[in-house]
């Protein structure tokens, strides 16, 4: 029941609010939605597999760069570039997954960071393809033939992104509640036991990793069309760290938590940037404060039942 009220509020929020907001806030709201998709995709790893990846920006950035390079050099077609960009993110996830899933704990953390930095290094120094530090400007949102409105209008693009957000949310919701999702949770709790029961745990994790990469790629593709510009920042560790903070801030292990975290952080960045250039400093302080005070994020503060159970399970506060 509570969930439906939430959904109705959200529909009203996105149905009415953008009509009255200025262009600037429409774009900001679009950004919130895109980062919500990104944070949820990362949470598939952080929350559902306890794999704290510090390189999730790699999938986000590779999709952005693919569209950036392809649409300025080959053809600016939505039906060609958009699926290919997401496919590219999945391919990268498939390659990275082969390496990172061999490792655990501290090594996972390092190798995910290292691999994404490797892509950052390529984007930074392969000037012929990526124009290095300058980035690729002038990426135009393509027209989609059967849509009655043009995506150039920020409001239309907001609803375009909202559509993908809802689709992604529903798909991830189905996924985490499917038998596959439950198997993943069981692997998180005890991989050894699942292996003994005859599950191919590696394959489960590998496919889960690629799915996570897919949604991150979706977010990256939507983001590059929003900005019309891509630079190595999309691949940077700050990007990955920000996504990780969104997940932790909202509450890992749920889907709605990271979305809330993404919303809070994007809005906060907007507010802070208006007053000072020290956003990274503020980001770091929030990061530390969040870790020091709320182990289960905003949702944990609100006392969501999942977290109470989890807390009981781990024997915290008892």
């Amino acid at each position: 029941m509570k969930r439906w009220i939430g959904i109705i509020i959200l529909i009203l929020l996105f149905g009415v609010l953008p009509q009255v907001l200025s262009r600037y806030y429409v774009i900001l709201l679009t950004k919130v939605l895109i980062f919500a998709i990104f944070a949820m995709s990362l949470d598939l790893l952080v929350g559902y597999l306890k794999l704290p990846s510090l390189g999730h920006g790699a999938f986000f950035g590779i999709a952005s760069y693919f569209i950036g390079v392809f649409s300025t050099r080959v053809a600016n077609s939505f039906w060609l570039n958009f699926p290919l960009a997401i496919g590219m993110a999945v391919v990268v996830a498939a390659l990275f997954g082969l390496l990172v899933l061999r490792t655990r704990g501290a090594y996972f953390f390092m190798i995910s960071l290292a691999l994404s930095q490797m892509l950052w290094g390529i984007a930074f120094s392969w000037r012929f393809l990526t124009r290095g530090d300058d980035g690729i400007p002038g990426i135009i949102r393509p027209e989609i033939a059967f849509l009655p409105w043009s995506l150039q209008d920020p409001l239309c693009y907001l609803y375009f992104v909202l559509f993908f957000f809802i689709v992604a949310f529903i798909l991830m919701y189905i996924l985490v509640h499917s038998p596959f999702g439950h198997t993943i949770l069981a692997i998180r709790e005890s991989e050894l036991r699942m292996r003994t029961l005859g599950y191919n745990t590696w394959l489960h994790k590998y496919i889960w990793f690629m799915i996570s990469g897919l949604f991150a790629g979706l977010a990256g593709a939507l983001f590059v069309y929003l900005n019309g510009f891509v630079s190595p920042t999309s691949l940077s560790v700050a990007m990955s760290a920000e996504a990780l903070l969104m997940v932790l801030l909202g509450g890992a292990g749920t889907l709605i938590g990271p979305a809330i975290g993404a919303g809070s952080l994007v809005l906060l960045e907007d507010i802070v940037s208006a007053y000072t250039e020290r956003w990274l400093l503020v980001l770091g302080i929030i990061f530390v404060l969040v870790r020091m005070t709320t182990p289960y994020g905003i949702l944990g503060l609100l006392g969501r039942s999942e977290f109470k159970r989890q807390r009981k399970h781990e024997g915290i506060g008892s």
């Binding site: 704990g105 691999l115 560790v237 990061f287 182990p295």
Partner: protein, 284 residues
């Protein structure tokens, strides 16, 4: 021939700097099971603090002293007041150090500004020596010697002293060590401070060659991660050999194919990991 000789020596020079940072990283990890992502920041802060001290006192020795002590204290404070509260939550501690990377590097940018800085060489080690037919800067030779000296000292410290024995005991079986009355929390704080100080030492030592610029903390952190990924965490021997490998590969990449720098190093890391997921000497 001379090209290969000189570049090999250059690579080894950088290897020694890497070793100082990764020795800290690996000591901290060996005992606390925490990757200190702020290790690159400690490096950067060491150079910057040293730079300020050098400007006001003009003494390289004081610069070295204050740089190391200040950063060591910073590490101790950071461990004692923040990481300390997450004794068993290793992942939480790593994320905390990540938060500190942003805080410290942005503060450094605020205080010292964004222009690149180089420390002047100590006047005693100016000039170069002739080895065979090649000229080689004395300072680089001193760096190599210092690196080897520190490696030996650290090895003796861990392997031969009482403090080292305590650290090894804590790393092997913490509960047992604690049960025997070893003050593990104190040890944690001390080792974290030592790690930070080592990183800062590396920074100041390389100050006349690499200096400091914004973003350096990440470059340094990534290279030292490549080192521990290759060499394995928690082993000084792994850190030393890994540093040699990464330092040499990095140097030859920079000279021969600068666009591919990081890519080649992490391709090498990938190959090692494909065969041995915990690195060559890792214990995890």
């Amino acid at each position: 021939m001379s090209f290969w000789f000189v570049q090999t020596l250059n690579g080894i020079t950088f290897s020694m700097v890497l070793f100082l940072i990764t020795a800290g990283l690996t000591l901290i990890f060996g005992l606390m099971r925490v990757i200190n992502l702020a290790q690159g920041c400690f490096y950067l802060l060491g150079v910057l603090i040293g730079f300020s001290v050098l400007q006001s006192t003009n003494s390289f020795l004081l610069c070295l002293f204050f740089g190391i002590v200040a950063v060591g204290i910073l590490g101790i404070l950071m461990q004692r007041f923040f990481l300390f509260h997450f004794q068993d939550d290793h992942e939480g501690q790593v994320l905390l150090t990540l938060g500190f990377v942003f805080i410290l590097s942005d503060l450094a940018l605020l205080i010292w500004g964004g222009e690149p800085k180089l420390l002047p060489k100590p006047p005693l080690f100016e000039g170069s020596v002739e080895i065979g037919t090649n000229f080689f800067a004395i300072y680089r030779l001193i760096m190599i010697l210092t690196g080897i000296l520190i490696a030996i000292c650290l090895g003796l410290f861990i392997g031969r002293t009482k403090m080292g024995a305590l650290i090894r005991a804590g790393a092997d079986d913490m509960e047992m060590a604690r049960g025997l009355g070893i003050r593990i929390p104190l040890l944690f704080t001390a080792v974290f401070g030592l790690g930070a100080a080592l990183s800062s030492f590396g920074g100041i030592m390389a100050g006349p060659l690499i200096g400091a610029h914004p973003g350096l903390e990440w470059d340094i952190l990534l290279l030292s991660m490549a080192v521990v990924l290759v060499g394995g965490l928690g082993s000084l021997k792994g850190a030393f050999l890994g540093s040699l490998l990464v330092g040499l590969v990095d140097n030859f990449c920079k000279v021969l194919m600068p666009e591919l720098g990081l890519f080649v190093i992490f391709a090498a890391v990938a190959i090692v990991l494909a065969f041995k997921p915990t690195g060559l000497f890792g214990k995890l």
